[in-house]
Symmetry: C2
């Protein structure tokens, strides 16, 4: 549309970056960082949302499928910690996934209060469909960017996360 006019105003957005002093972070660099994250996340999630809409599902369904697939047998409480939402929010979506047989619940053996979560075959299929698009996206981006860039990406993302999440990410065996 009026992207040309708009673009004139954001000329600084794409000026050649010859980063001289990393400690002197310009306002514009930080704005650009915010926008990179915004646009990347926006496009990263867009196709998954479209797939989910077919099933009358939303992004929350994908998140559950993803993390249950990632940690088969995960208790509900751990999932809540990962997602940082209330049990009521989780319950609505999770019970739907259980009812429609994407997710299976088994009582815990050590602690029989727990409901351990597993993907059914149906759940695995949908999870794969959703996540594979995102993996391909990262595979392409990683390949284009190169190993050094990937390590840089990792560092910056870890720096953006809260200390708690970063700690978990880096030393999962820690109490």
């Amino acid at each position: 549309m009026l992207w040309v006019k708009l673009s004139r105003k954001c000329a600084t957005m794409a000026e050649p970056k010859t980063i001289v002093n990393p400690l002197f972070l310009r306002e514009d660099d930080l704005r650009q960082a915010i926008e990179l994250l915004f646009f990347a996340y926006r496009d990263f999630t867009a196709r998954g949302d479209a797939i989910l809409a077919r099933q009358h599902f939303g992004r929350a369904h994908h998140r559950i499928l993803y993390f249950v697939g990632r940690y088969p047998g995960i208790p509900v409480g751990d999932l809540l910690d990962i997602l940082n939402i209330t049990k009521q929010s989780l319950s609505r979506v999770l019970s739907q996934l259980v009812r429609e047989e994407y997710v299976l619940q088994k009582p815990g053996t050590r602690d029989r209060r727990q409901r351990l979560l597993y993907l059914t075959d149906k759940g695995k299929t949908l999870e794969r469909e959703l996540t594979s698009e995102q993996r391909m996206r990262f595979a392409a981006a990683y390949k284009d960017a190169g190993a050094v860039a990937v390590e840089g990406f990792r560092k910056v993302m870890l720096g953006i996360m809260d200390a708690k999440a970063r700690k978990r990410f880096l030393s999962p065996f820690e109490t």
Copy 2:
């Protein structure tokens, strides 16, 4: 909570990268990438959401304030392009911001159909409060990660974005 137990199960997440199978490594790297983006975005937006909740606002309000602050005088259509939402979705939030005097609308001079958007002082204040937290987050992350990592982050994020958005980001003068 049960993070210890969970952690046992996600051992692959942080195991030293000495595993031989290259296919497994690749899969795991990509999963890790997805999770880095998820956790970073989750924590990146959390504090802003809390601030917005005070004003009975949501993330959409922040996005409008942000981009109007970024491109003063932006027409509504351009904002729609940036946000990738429908005019109805935008309108609900934008008219609220206009009504409560965070955003000012002026008819365009060249094209009087357009409503050019500007932040009021009130809007600037709130935008600054919201964005400054995010800028500080990136400032700290960038500082810790170093210049090389920042460039890597940029590359990967650009690779994740859709080609259209990447093009705009990289060559804003292009038609």
